[in-house]
């Protein structure tokens, strides 16, 4: 039986190989040439045990994206609060600090399609005064895949719709299926930032 980690790794490898065909055709001189800032509202569509025991609220995700080798690199943070429901477990907030990489393809009518993966630290803060300082926070590894369709509505301004799968490697796995919508703004990367990144 293939473990879930192995399945995820295979998916990541397939994602990489899919874009690897033109990997060496794209000039790396293009690196960091533009910066794109993404802001999205995130909704939870998970059906796992976590979503049964807590009610996930609307969340937010902000990220910065720029060309990096054969695709785009992303760094960002996603915030989703969880509220108690009929099970009365105390509330907690999650902050997912991630880095990701993917490839964006141009589609007709100014549409673009980005597919990639994210890896990061999934921090959880539990809101209960009865907890000790050591029990109030926890951080765990998380990784997943994401897909985004965007359209340029004004010069350098995009509307986005995305789907995201994130696995959090807790003892009992958390598997999140998320959808999001938002806007992006793209601009030429300042020279000082390019120099810093090299």
């Amino acid at each position: 039986m293939i473990k879930s980690e192995l399945k995820l790794i295979i998916l990541l490898i397939i994602t990489f190989l899919f874009f690897y065909r033109d990997a060496f055709t794209q000039s790396i001189n293009n690196q960091y040439s533009f910066t794109r800032i993404n802001l999205d509202i995130v909704g939870n569509k998970s059906t796992d045990e976590l979503s049964r025991l807590w009610d996930a609220q609307k969340g937010f995700e902000g990220s910065v994206e720029m060309p990096f080798y054969y695709g785009n690199i992303q760094v960002g943070v996603r915030y989703i609060p969880y509220k108690e429901n009929e099970y009365f477990y105390h509330d907690f907030s999650t902050f997912y600090y991630f880095a990701g990489w993917g490839k964006e393809l141009n589609l007709p009518f100014h549409f673009r399609w980005y597919n990639g993966f994210k890896v990061g630290a999934y921090a959880m803060a539990f809101h209960d005064d009865s907890l000790t300082i050591y029990q109030k926070d926890e951080t765990e590894l998380a990784a997943g895949l994401n897909s985004r369709v965007s359209v340029e509505i004004l010069k350098n301004i995009f509307l986005n719709a995305a789907a995201d799968y994130t696995a959090v490697f807790t003892h009992k796995r958390i598997e999140l299926f998320l959808i999001s919508a938002g806007v992006s703004y793209s601009f030429k990367t300042p020279i000082w930032l390019k120099e810093f990144l090299k």
Partner: protein, 652 residues
């Protein structure tokens, strides 16, 4: 003693000594691990470097400290490999237990590491159990500063399920590492000052249950170190002063006791070494070291206190004469080790003297030969060690290298707990830790033979393989059939020592390195070793070493500032006979047989700000297998490590 001083006088009257020996580079069976390799693999601690040592085996109980065995030169019971920093011997061990993380340097100070894999004379030491020489970086001119921070986290925390029916133990952080340093450098001298903090957490249930028995309040082991190095280019060579100290609040696994004991360890080192070059064909190497290694009390339920200190004085003088085709070495060393337990009014000295000589000869354009003789005297007993090494350059067909060695070793050279116990020292645990010794512990003998072949087909493909033979004779082997005490989660067994134990081992390895494209290299390594004759107890202990090891490493550096590294490691199952009853007594929680390891790691590195900032993320054990090395050790699963290094060179 008089012979020692006569030899010193003889050395000073004879034209002497040399610096780097070009012939030695070809004759020595060693592995060099560079800073680039360490960075690619995302390693954060000094002992983590052993992950990259192909011919060394290790096991770890807590996932942080590692016990080592070099190239089948010893089992895990004796930890007598030699450790050096910049060629200066560092004795941070207490008894014969070494934790190289206690060396007062951090990972970002390492330039490269030399691992000597067969017995030979190296910097005035005889490397019968292997040697690790860590070379620190030479700082950039002017004032420079650096900072290193790293953290590791194991997956498998309970997360929000901690408050539900799905609750599970918290596995917490793997470690936290912080280091900083400044350096000042001119054309003729430089000064390094550095400090480091390392924390490790006993959160894995298999360790935490035992630790909690003696130490219920806290689970964090913490170490702080400082290090200073002054290097002066004078008298034709480098003269170096190394000063370092380490304070380590540690959960010290002490095998005779069977469990971890909270201890307060303190190590300090002051050493002077260097090279003087009086003539074009002569040089003199010297070294003088004072160090202390203490193991004291850290509060614990049973008030266990080793109350032990080892004070070490060490001096070495060596002379070399060399020409293009000849390298001659003669040297002498003296060591005084004082073992002291103030509470018990115990204080005894152990003196060791050694004399050695070595000749490397280029007998023809394609043949180099080296022979060395090393004599150790202690307490009226003398042990002789020697070797013969050959190197044939086969031109376009590659090279062939051989090594034949014979090493005697005195019981005093081990200076372990059993030695001091026989002198009258015993720590204060209630159990009786006087071993039952069958026979007399005498001088042990080790015969080794190694034959290597290597060939570079072109600039992209190289191949090497070799075979080895080991014959251990008259060794002493510890045996403990641990019993498990469920109410304390602890192990205990009286110690039996079997003398006159023998073993013969055959081994072999093969390595292929292939560069697919200019920035993508890969390496395949396989090794095999198996005992085929010997005393039953020795053969049982040798089963702690894996028979088969395989690794595949790939390193992709599309540009100098970005790289991806991956490694798959396989090691066959091991058997730990001391825990033969543990499986039955613990409901198979601690089984004698440790399953094969299949570990895959991925590391990504990125330089920023024109190589001033370096970032790394390492995913270790990405297939989330149980990574366990010893029955009572942690079972590490998928974990990730982050680190940042900042190098501000020549800021003034």
């Amino acid at each position: 003693m008089k012979y020692f001083f006569l030899f010193i006088i003889f050395i000073f009257q004879f034209p002497l000594f040399c610096q780097s020996n070009p012939l030695e580079n070809k004759l020595t069976q060693r592995q060099v691990i560079t800073e680039a390799m360490i960075k690619a693999a995302g390693i954060q601690t000094i002992s983590g470097i052993i992950y990259l040592a192909d011919k060394w085996n290790f096991y770890s109980i807590d996932g942080y400290e590692r016990d080592l065995s070099a190239n089948n030169l010893s089992d895990f019971q004796r930890q007598n490999f030699i450790v050096m920093i910049d060629g200066q011997r560092i004795d941070d061990k207490v008894f014969d237990v070494q934790n190289i993380n206690q060396l007062p340097i951090a990972i970002d100070q390492v330039d490269y590491v030399e691992l000597i894999n067969t017995p030979q004379i190296y910097n005035g030491e005889y490397t019968e159990n292997g040697l690790i020489d860590i070379h620190t970086k030479t700082p950039a001119k002017g004032l420079s500063a650096r900072v290193f921070q790293g953290v590791g986290d194991q997956t498998g925390d309970p997360g929000p399920y901690s408050f539900t029916q799905y609750k599970s133990p918290n596995v917490d952080k793997m470690g936290y590492n912080l280091a900083a340093g400044v350096s000042l450098s001119t054309k003729d001298w430089y000064l390094n000052a550095a400090t480091k903090i390392e924390q490790n957490f006993a959160t894995d249930p298999e360790v935490n249950n035992r630790v909690s028995n003696l130490f219920p309040s806290y689970n964090k082991a913490e170490m702080t170190s400082t290090f200073y190095k002054l290097n002066v280019n004078a008298l034709g060579g480098n003269q170096e002063i190394l000063i370092g100290n380490t304070r380590h609040y540690d959960f010290f696994f002490f095998k005779p006791y069977g469990d971890e004991i909270p201890v307060n360890r303190y190590f300090k080192h002051v050493g002077l070494s260097g090279l003087i070059k009086p003539g074009n064909n002569y040089d003199i190497k010297y070294s003088a070291v004072y160090s202390t290694s203490e193991i004291g009390q850290w509060e614990n339920n049973l008030n266990i206190d080793f109350n032990w200190q080892e004070v070490n004085y060490y001096a070495k003088l060596e002379g070399d004469y060399f020409t293009r085709d000849l390298f001659l070495t003669a040297g002498a060393g003296y060591r005084k080790l004082t073992g002291e337990s103030p509470k018990d009014l115990f204080k005894k000295n152990l003196e060791t003297k050694n004399l050695y000589g070595r000749a490397d000869l280029k007998l023809s354009d394609n043949f180099i030969q080296s022979a060395g003789l090393f004599a150790v005297n202690s307490g009226g007993n003398t042990a002789m060690k020697g070797y013969l090494k050959n190197y044939w350059d086969l031109g376009s067909s590659g090279f062939l290298r051989s090594s034949y060695t014979y090493s005697e070793r005195l019981f005093q050279e081990d200076a372990n707990y059993w030695y001091w116990n026989q002198q009258g020292y015993s720590f204060n645990a209630q159990e009786n830790f006087a071993p039952l010794i069958y026979g007399n512990i005498g001088t042990s003998r080790l015969y080794t033979a190694d034959l290597d072949y290597g060939k570079d087909f072109d600039s992209t493909l190289s191949l090497s393989f070799g075979i080895s033979y080991r014959h251990f004779s008259n060794y002493y082997i510890e045996s403990q059939s641990y019993q498990y005490y469920d109410n304390q989660s602890s192990f205990y067994a009286p110690v039996e020592i079997f003398t006159n134990s023998n073993l013969k081992v055959f081994g072999g390895y093969a390595e292929i390195q292939y560069r697919i494209i200019p920035n993508l290299t890969q390496k395949i390594y396989y090794s095999y070793q198996k005992d085929f004759w010997g005393s039953p107890i020795f053969r049982d202990i040798w089963a702690e070493l894996p028979v088969h090891k395989f690794s595949y490493t790939v390193n992709f550096m599309p540009s100098p500032d970005f790289g991806i590294w991956a490694k798959i490691n396989y090691a066959s199952a091991t058997t730990w006979v001391d825990y033969k009853y543990a499986g039955l007594q613990t409901g198979e929680q601690y089984k004698m047989k440790v399953l094969p390891l299949l570990i895959a790691d991925v590391s990504v590195q990125k330089w920023l700000w024109e190589r001033r900032i370096w970032l790394n993320v390492l995913f270790r054990n990405i297939f989330n297998q149980s990574e366990k090395y010893i029955p009572i050790g942690v079972s590490n699963t998928l974990r990730f490590y982050l680190q940042i290094q900042i190098h501000l060179d020549s800021i003034l």
